[in-house]
Symmetry: C2
Subunit: 505 residues, 2 copies
């Protein structure tokens, strides 16, 4: 496991006995402090110290102190020249000052009795020897005072439940059950945006930066015990405690899935990672094997983190890899068949009972096989029920507008004279579709068979009661069959790892 | 080429001499008729004959006739029992009646002197022998009358320039220079939506269905001569005239790029394709070779059609595959390096002159190599100019918020007290960014080097003058580095095919 990282960890450092807390207690201060100081609070737009302070002020709900050496007031708030002047206690500090001033800022935090901090500032170990020396100095100061900290060289963190945000540069975040630990703050903007598009929200988030003190593994251990987190997502460039990661993951994935994108797979990527967060990218082959053995779901692209999170939250774990495809239009079914095969999934023949059921439901135009192409029929819930009840099938993939004529009709340019009739028609379809969906979800649970949907409406057109019901149940359509099939394949792999699905062959 | 299809084509059938027109004249009637009859016009919501008529009425601008055997009035319009009763001439007919009534409808069209038609109805050759027999009958009737038609078993077509739409189930379409020919109507909903998200519009669109009369190759030939079309996109399940496609493509791709997704790559996909549009999927190996030899850009997923269209419209063709990466945050640079390598692109070292320029622009925190990671500096246009002027570099990939602090600041929760100042700051950044962008585009043209952007803002946050300028110039950011790198790789391949870029090795 040496290829994973240097193994340097908290336990190697002397700890001041008066402040010994376990990891959970320490990180509770990180995610929900009562009082916060922003060291480097600023009146200048564009500065981190400006945006973080304004974010904290806008959220409210805790004591906020602005620290600025030169200004008496910052954003309407009295500013203190140093932490020593702050009247009340301070649980948590945001450090957003030039790199050479970070040790002094941390020294002030120790004197003030701060419990946890985030160091936004860059210019440390990722830059070279001088930065590494300063970073080491900061670590030693923090250890002396029992302060745990995020970063340096990071974008902040949040806890949606306590509404505590030190990360200003994210799209609006919904509360939810995903946690994200990322060694790159920038990637998280895309990840959070994609989650929002799929109706998913977050419990906690950390941009871990250089991980001078708190490591990826520390956050992982904390999130394993966090009741608000159901799925842990991670973006990794290199691990500092490979063996600890592996041991933790092996335990956690038994109950809580972990989905990881690891960059630095190619030589150029690994080189870039070294210069980025001073991380050892390690041998990708070793990582790959460790992920597999510990049940970690590894995805290639950051967008897949969210695609996989969706099935993990919304679907039962299937008992095998035999997929029934249902489509109203053939083209999408063809694409889906291709992509399912490429993902190693199977399209078995349907049972005679299912063939009979479908013959009685569909017009003679249906495809008479798997994929089931209805030949244009839109309201195909009964077909879907038939598929789920088929003993040859472990999961279903719906492609096209199964059941949601409503979402289609909204795109049509209608003359005003018929607008009212359309509204009534949509409402009627929505009610019956909701009943159909209830039955569907009951069957999914009873038979433990996932139903993945692709291309039912398009994101900026999604609305109405049916869609809201889908969103509540995390059965959101993917935009393309490829994305749906890849997510399903990862769900099957995880189910195989847990011994729920039978493996191949 | 036999694996491509049956070779059945228009020239094998006798043509009524009185109506001999060339393909261009015939298809002009398809895309811009003066008078239109909807056979199967309906008052029933959800029926094709309802939605197509209401769409035609909403668009207006030509004579519209409703044909319905039983109703005296459809959607407020006088309805005719048959085509024979229509008073004026009819150029074009939409046929949306049950499959067994299609031959009679086509017979009526012949008597009325209709020039072109679209048959929406399914239930023909894709179903089996009986359907195939009826479809053949329809073809023979149409040929006798010199009528060319789209379909059957399709979703309609449009011409954005003449504002003629027979396809009701699409998201709103922007005018533009992409043409799309698809053997699956359903896939086009996603394709049109993705185009809209990237600010791209369409000239013409055809859902070609079973291609009983007009083949994919006919549309291709027409679009080659269409001045409004700059890039031709296609979704193919199987070609009916493989050799003709190949010969056409070889000529067209010298001036106009063709981008294709071909489904049915796996056995299951090919089987599904056969039942869908009665197409011969053919040997995928043969297709792959033919695409390569004729300069057709083949992509795997439907979303890539749009990703590649964007670079084709917005970028110069590069002279090689050496890419310089510029990033404000390292994580994305790592992902980009990985994905560029996987796509067979190269990340060469920077020239000493570029290193010197970057040293003078950036703080000491920059990565001192390729990828160029600025270490957090946002306004990095001068870095980009330096990259483009580097003789070691053929193209640049920007990852992160290069230059658009504006788009970031909009996400921040600002207290109302500072809102006005932020607005002024954004306006000021926008003006200077526009000047920087002008210089960038001048350099791109002068050195013939593409600049691809990933992850600059997120789609539903994109606004402001800078973004509008980017949209006008088709330099829209991709959501992920993967998508950007794949698109760039296809651009390089096309440039190599045309002999502009030097090939590998």
């Amino acid at each position: 496991m040496a290829a994973f990282g240097s193994g340097r960890s908290w336990s190697n450092f002397p700890v001041s006995l008066s402040v010994v807390m376990n990891l959970k207690q320490q990180l509770d201060y990180l995610f929900n402090p009562q009082s916060v100081a922003v060291i480097g609070a600023s009146n200048s737009l564009g500065k981190w110290g400006f945006h973080i302070l304004s974010l904290l002020l806008a959220k409210g709900g805790r004591e906020i102190y602005a620290i600025n050496r030169n200004e008496p007031e910052v954003q309407g708030l009295k500013a203190y020249q140093s932490m020593r002047e702050v009247p009340g206690p301070v649980d948590f500090a945001v450090i957003a000052v030039p790199f050479q001033d970070v040790p002094a800022a941390m020294e002030d935090c120790v004197r003030k009795g701060v419990k946890a901090a985030v160091i936004i500032s860059g210019g440390l170990a990722e830059i070279g020897d001088e930065g590494a020396r300063i970073e080491q100095e900061v670590v030693e100061i923090a250890r002396r005072g029992g302060i745990r900290f995020v970063g340096p060289n990071c974008m902040g963190h949040f806890d949606s439940s306590s509404d505590f945000f030190t990360v200003p540069y994210l799209p609006p975040v919904k509360k939810g059950s995903l946690a994200l630990i990322t060694q790159s703050g920038n990637t998280s903007q895309t990840i959070v945006y994609l989650a929002c598009e799929m109706g998913l929200g977050f419990s906690k988030y950390v941009s871990s930066g250089n991980e001078a003190d708190l490591h990826f593994e520390d956050y992982l251990e904390y999130l394993a015990q966090d009741d608000e987190t159901e799925v842990i997502l991670g973006y990794i460039e290199g691990l500092r405690e490979g063996r600890r990661f592996f041991e933790l993951a092996k335990e956690i994935t038994k109950k809580k899935p972990i989905v990881i994108t690891k960059a630095g797979r190619t030589e150029a990527g690994a080189r870039a990672a070294r210069s980025h967060t001073a991380a050892l990218a390690g041998s990708d082959v070793v990582c790959e094997a460790a992920f597999k053995q510990s049940g970690v779901i590894r995805v290639e692209e950051i967008s897949e983190l969210i695609d996989v999170a969706l099935v993990l939250l919304g679907q039962p774990l299937p008992r095998g890899r035999r997929v029934g495809v249902l489509s109203t239009g053939g083209g999408m079914a063809v694409m889906a068949a291709d992509v399912l095969m490429r993902q190693g999934l199977e399209l078995p023949p349907l049972s005679p009972a299912t063939m009979e059921k479908l013959n009685s439901i569909l017009s003679r135009r249906w495809s008479h096989g798997n994929p089931v192409e209805t030949g244009g029929d839109i309201f195909s819930y009964p077909c879907l029920w038939a598929l789920i009840e088929d003993e040859n099938i472990d999961a279903a993939l719906i492609i096209g507008a199964a059941g949601v004529a409503a979402s289609y009709a909204r795109w049509v340019n209608l003359p005003p004279s018929v607008g009212d009739a359309v509204d009534r028609w949509l409402e009627a379809s929505e009610d019956s579709e909701q009943r159909d969906m209830d039955k569907l979800m009951e069957l999914m649970k009873r038979y433990q068979k996932p139903v993945i949907v692709a291309h039912m409406g398009i994101p900026n057109m999604r609305k109405g009661k049916v869609y809201e019901k889908m969103e509540r149940n995390h059965v959101i359509p993917y935009l393309t069959p490829e994305r749906a099939a890849k997510a399903l394949a990862h769900l099957v792999e995880y189910s195989e790892y847990l011994g729920i699905a039978k493996g191949r062959g």
